[in-house]
Symmetry: C2
């Protein structure tokens, strides 16, 4: 089984890693990090680089198409190459997964029209424009489309999808493997339970799409080059 | 404030990313991923490469020393260069953080002698040999030493440390930012509540230190080279 995680400049790493850390451990899973070009992809903080070791053209088909979110995702809602790749790989996927505003990328590709989906708390109002009904859940399944709420919801979503693929026992084994028995120091149950001034602060950040952050230059920019053999 | 996350061949990515995703967003934080050598570090799954853009010699001092765990960590308990680096950076750190069996690396460096610490569920019996008392908590503070349980506990630990550094309001803001309102599909409360056969399966994996996994060659090995300027 193949898991193809699409990564891009300005992704939020935990959107990808939460699901990866579980799904990549499924017996027989072949996991790949894929970007428009091979190379080091800078996360939204500009302080973490992830290796994309396959480019879009190298992935002919996949079983699980996985699209994380992040401030870099907003621009991709109008990126034909990115959206065409999503549409092409979705044609043969068994499961198509979106996390956070990665769900917006599935929606922008037209895959969620007439469907229900969850997404991050701040993106939810934007789904309607793509003909998708928002449901306030941590993760949601509509046919083969699995959507997750914001960032850390990638973990819950990954466990849920694992239970669908391999059953509850395997999911529980992997849950123990990553010791996912959460105990946050501030156990608010839902985003809307958080103080309004905190909600406003995050809303402001989200509204400007993390632009200030994305304008920073990653300290590793230009540091890593593809070796010649990688172009073969 | 500087956050130095030590990474190494065979780390478990979520050990590092759970804390990073929170701490790196603290205003004014300068985050760096550091390894013995600059280059692409392969995670334990062999399917994810992280960019180490500083080497040990480049980090003269740091405010937060952060050591994740993973099957690759066991060998480092006898690696003088790794342990000396931990000891050296700990001398001036404000906080020293260990997650999962990364706690064992702090212990092996002699930093936790006579102290209490948590660690992952399978490593707990090994702490005693280093003169450290295991406490069964999701995260624990003993002086400037902050320790976390297994893998995903890095998130809870990161939020806890954020509350110590910047206060509860900032921690709650970042918690909302990553939407950490967990809802695992199988809400067992503690590892020991999981069925015994599942515990045994993970115990077997841990006992052999993920050796089979680490023997695999990462598909991106040799693909990324340091550019000449990186050696300047």
């Amino acid at each position: 089984m193949r898991l193809s995680i699409l990564i891009y400049d300005g992704l939020t790493t935990l959107d990808a890693i939460g699901g990866y850390e579980i799904l990549a451990r499924l017996p027989g899973m072949e996991t790949e990090f894929v970007a428009a070009q091979r190379g080091i992809v800078a996360a939204d903080t500009r302080r973490l680089g992830l290796a994309a070791f396959r480019d879009f053209s190298e992935v002919k088909a996949t079983d699980i198409l996985y699209v994380p979110g992040g401030p870099g995702g907003f621009a991709l809602e109008k990126d034909d190459i990115f959206l065409d790749t999503i549409r092409r790989l979705d044609k043969t996927s068994t499961w198509t997964v979106g996390i956070c505003n990665g769900v917006g990328l599935l929606a922008a590709a037209g895959l969620l029209k007439g469907r229900k989906a969850t997404t991050n708390w701040f993106y939810q109002d934007r789904l309607r424009a793509y003909g998708t009904e928002f449901v306030a859940e941590r993760y949601h399944r509509d046919g083969k489309y699995i959507t997750g709420a914001g960032v850390s919801a990638s973990i819950d979503t990954g466990l849920f999808l694992t239970s669908l693929i391999a059953g509850e026992q395997v999911a529980k084994t992997l849950q123990l493997g990553i010791e996912y028995y959460p105990a946050p120091p501030f156990p608010e149950q839902r985003p809307q339970d958080v103080a309004v001034e905190i909600q406003d602060r995050i809303r402001r950040f989200e509204a400007e799409g993390g632009k200030k952050q994305l304008a920073e230059v990653a300290p590793f920019k230009g540091m890593f080059e593809l070796s010649r053999s990688a172009h073969d």
